[in-house]
């Protein structure tokens, strides 16, 4: 039956790339290559960081720009996506480009 053959095709093998069960110590002592060098993590976590005035201003400016664009939209003022031809859709990069549905960074569906 079709279903059964599909199962056989994609049933995860034990040597799948997902080595979910490997403990950290085994990974470190094995001959496998280390992961690509991650950029050194920011150690600022505990420091009391004052909200960056520039950051706030940047976010505010960006918001205002987008609102202006909306007002200038052709015809009825609805946003038309140049790449896809979609009318009235979300601006910016394709919301589903990484699989989930995101709105300016917040995931709203997956």
């Amino acid at each position: 039956m079709a279903t059964n053959s599909i199962v056989r095709l994609i049933a995860p093998s034990r040597s799948a790339s997902s080595r979910f069960l490997e403990p950290v110590s085994r990974f470190l002592s094995s001959g496998t290559p280390p992961p690509p060098q991650a950029p050194s993590p920011n150690q600022d976590l505990n420091r009391n960081v004052k909200p960056d005035q520039n950051l706030q201003q940047n976010l505010q400016m960006q918001k205002e720009e987008e609102e202006e664009e909306e007002g200038e939209g052709g015809g009825g003022g609805e946003f038309v996506n140049e790449d896809t031809g979609e009318i009235g859709g979300p601006r910016g990069p394709e919301p589903t480009r990484y699989g989930d549905w995101e709105q300016r960074g917040r995931c709203s569906d997956f």
Binding site: S18, F20, V24, P35, V49, I87, G89, G92, G105, C107
Partner: protein, 650 residues
């Protein structure tokens, strides 16, 4: 149908009263576990059978004549008892869609515990999936669904949903839902993870909200539909009819007036949504406390596949924010996969990059792998959150792509261009629920289910993106015909409405001010404790030891809570909103634990360290039968005990 209770989940095969006699339920229990599961056959044939001749004459009688029974004019004998042809519990997409259809045949009451729009539907913003592109095919949608579901889906259910989806979308549009189009005039279809074709219909970014808006507008304009908001459903009203349990309506608590309102109806649709709040971190609104699943379980309905709880791996963790939110966040703020896609790195609090240990693809591994990895780290290190760092990327790019995250974090003192984001997995969707046949029917006569509360066989072990709104639409529609047929065959005996003991509202007059406030405080505390136990022991990475620990701890917690209540004057039939929600949360939590213990394999969303692989022989649904009345706790037992002899003249 191979309805199978896996050894290990001996969660009561015994059914109360006269429901099962001899071979009455041939397809439940110890059937051949290797047989192909088929949801639509077997057991549910029993539902289509006519009620036996000795059906409770007192409460409801079948007229075998060809003349249909008259529809109920919405007459109330008293304001505290209402009569409708159809009662719908829940006002999300499933409930409203069904209501609009059956309203053409009879009177409808829609009961909802908060404002009508307050439902998981409203928060489902992405889209609804359907085959609407000529290059797409039902087979492809089916394939994607079954792959996502780790092949635990019921094939017939999947076929039905994928086939009927497009028509349901067209109907929604005809009802006034406004979806995005392209310049060519066709619906714009997006492509989400797991889908082989573009097939997501959406309304900008707020599809669920748009669907809810359109349906609600139609419902409020329909003269045959009465919406009762702020009515919390307490328990389904049932009786035993020789071989079957029959549903006659539901008792509710009007939260605004603090009064019990009883709804008697010929047909009841349960569309009460999910149970995210059994966990401390969830995307669900506060109303999602598993009320429907719990009520159905107490009413002898069969529950299925509760172990498959979908989590999102990276919700913003408030504990990690420099300035904590003043009030607890009601719905989780989910950080998109795009952050990882764009180069975000995950670290534990020891600043170790852990993803490469679990998967070669590191942060780009599938979402479920990431969720498991994060959960594993948190449990091993006994920590509350991990860190997602995008600060190494160009500042302007971060702000351009993720302004929502940037501003939300900034509000709480965190600059994501310079610091990592604290994240923790959040419970999102229940793939399991009340077991439903292809028409939304359950093993309780007169009780239908649709939406997240149901387990239809569509999602299997894991839900495909945007299939949940679709499932709700399809099953709400499919339940209409059998509901209507049943309604026409049923006559109500109004005088029978008082045979069930009426719940009593917990008031200061009844229990005393001090007791009420102590119970409220304890209930809140116990709720938090239950959520912590669930997250700690019934999270994403599970094991038999952890699950049995959870079982024990939940039992102790429940006993402690119930004992306190009953020692302070609470009685079986006393109700209050927080206590009833707590009762439902306990019930759902136990259903999840029992189901999880029963599945001795890892499949889809259910991962067990002691059974880490998929087992072909276990590719069958998990079934939970009702609790034995002698051992059930307050959360697993209906409030009233109807003496069947008062209703049945067998």
């Amino acid at each position: 149908m191979a309805a199978h209770v896996s050894a290990g989940n001996i969660h009561n095969f015994y059914l109360a009263g006269q429901v099962y006699r001899g071979q009455a339920y041939p397809n439940f229990g110890f059937t051949n576990p290797f047989k192909e599961p088929s949801w639509s056959s077997g057991v549910f044939k029993a539902l289509r059978a006519e009620r036996c001749g000795c059906y409770s004459r007192g409460v409801s009688a079948i007229t075998e004549s060809s003349k249909p029974c008259t529809s109920i004019r919405a007459v109330s004998v008293s304001s505290s008892t209402k009569y409708y042809d159809f009662t719908v519990i829940g006002s999300g997409v499933a409930g409203l869609r069904y209501a609009l259809e059956v309203a053409k045949q009879g009177t409808v009451a829609v009961i909802t515990k908060d404002e009508p729009h307050e439902s998981n539907t409203n928060y489902a913003q992405g889209g609804v999936s359907a085959v609407l592109c000529p290059l797409d095919s039902v087979e492809s949608h089916m394939q994607d669904t079954m792959v996502a579901g780790a092949h635990l889906c019921d094939e017939e259910t999947v076929r039905v949903v994928c086939t009927e989806g497009p028509e349901r979308i067209r109907e929604l549009i005809a009802m006034g839902a406004s979806f995005d189009h392209g310049e060519d005039g066709n619906l714009h279809l997006a492509r989400e993870g797991g889908h082989s074709h573009r097939r997501i219909v959406h309304a900008a970014d707020m599809t669920g909200r748009e669907i809810e808006r359109a349906l609600l507008e139609a419902v409020l304009n329909d003269p045959n539909i009465s919406v009762f908001k702020h009515h919390f459903a307490i328990d389904l009203l049932t009786s035993q009819d020789c071989l079957n349990t029959v549903c006659h309506g539901v008792d509710t608590l009007n939260i605004k007036t603090n009064e019990v309102v009883r709804f008697i109806s010929k047909v009841t649709l349960l569309a009460s949504g999910g149970a995210g709040h059994i966990y401390p971190s969830t995307t669900n609104p506060l109303v999602a406390t598993g009320d429907g699943m719990a009520m159905a379980h107490r009413a002898q309905a069969v529950i299925s596949n509760m172990e498959f709880v979908q989590f999102h791996p990276t919700a913003l963790a408030d504990e990690g924010l420099p300035i904590k939110p003043q009030t607890a966040r009601e719905n989780a703020f989910l950080i998109t996969e795009a952050v990882r896609g764009d180069g975000g790195i995950l670290y534990n609090l020891g600043m170790e990059r852990f993803m490469p240990v679990y998967d070669e693809r590191a942060e780009l591994a599938p979402r479920d792998v990431v969720a498991r990895s994060i959960d594993d780290q948190l449990k091993k290190r006994n920590e509350k959150y991990v860190l997602l760092d995008i600060s190494h990327k160009a500042r302007d790019k971060i702000l351009a792509h993720f302004p929502n995250i940037a501003s939300e974090c900034l509000k709480h003192g965190l600059d994501i261009t310079r610091q990592p984001i604290p994240v923790v997995p959040a419970a999102h969707y229940m793939c399991g629920g009340v077991r439903a046949g292809l028409q939304g029917e359950t093993n309780v006569l007169g009780l239908f289910v649709a939406g997240e509360v149901a387990c239809t066989g569509l999602h299997g072990a894991n839900r495909l993106a945007s299939n949940s709104l679709l499932e709700a639409l399809v099953f709400a529609r499919r339940a209409v015909q059998p509901s209507t047929e049943l309604m026409k065959r049923t006559r109500l005996d109004v005088s029978a409405s008082e045979k069930w003991t009426r719940p009593v509202v917990a008031t200061a007059r009844l229990l005393g001010d001090e007791v009420i406030s102590k119970i409220t405080a304890l209930t809140k505390e116990v709720r938090g404790e239950l959520q912590e136990v669930m997250w700690k022991y019934v999270g994403i990475v599970r094991s038999t030891i952890r699950l049995t620990t959870a079982e024990r701890k939940i039992a102790e917690l429940e006993a402690k809570w119930e004992t306190f209540l009953f020692e302070h004057g609470w009685e079986q039939t006393v109700v209050a909103l927080e206590a009833c929600e707590m009762r439902n949360l306990f019930c759902c939590a136990k259903l999840v634990v029992s189901s999880a213990l029963a599945r001795h394999e890892s499949r889809g969303l259910h991962y067990m360290t002691d059974f880490p692989f998929v087992e072909e022989s276990k590719r069958i649904p998990t079934i939970i039968l009702p609790s034995s009345p002698t051992t059930a706790t307050w959360s697993s037992r209906r409030l009233q005990n109807i003496s069947s002899s008062s209703l049945i003249d067998c």
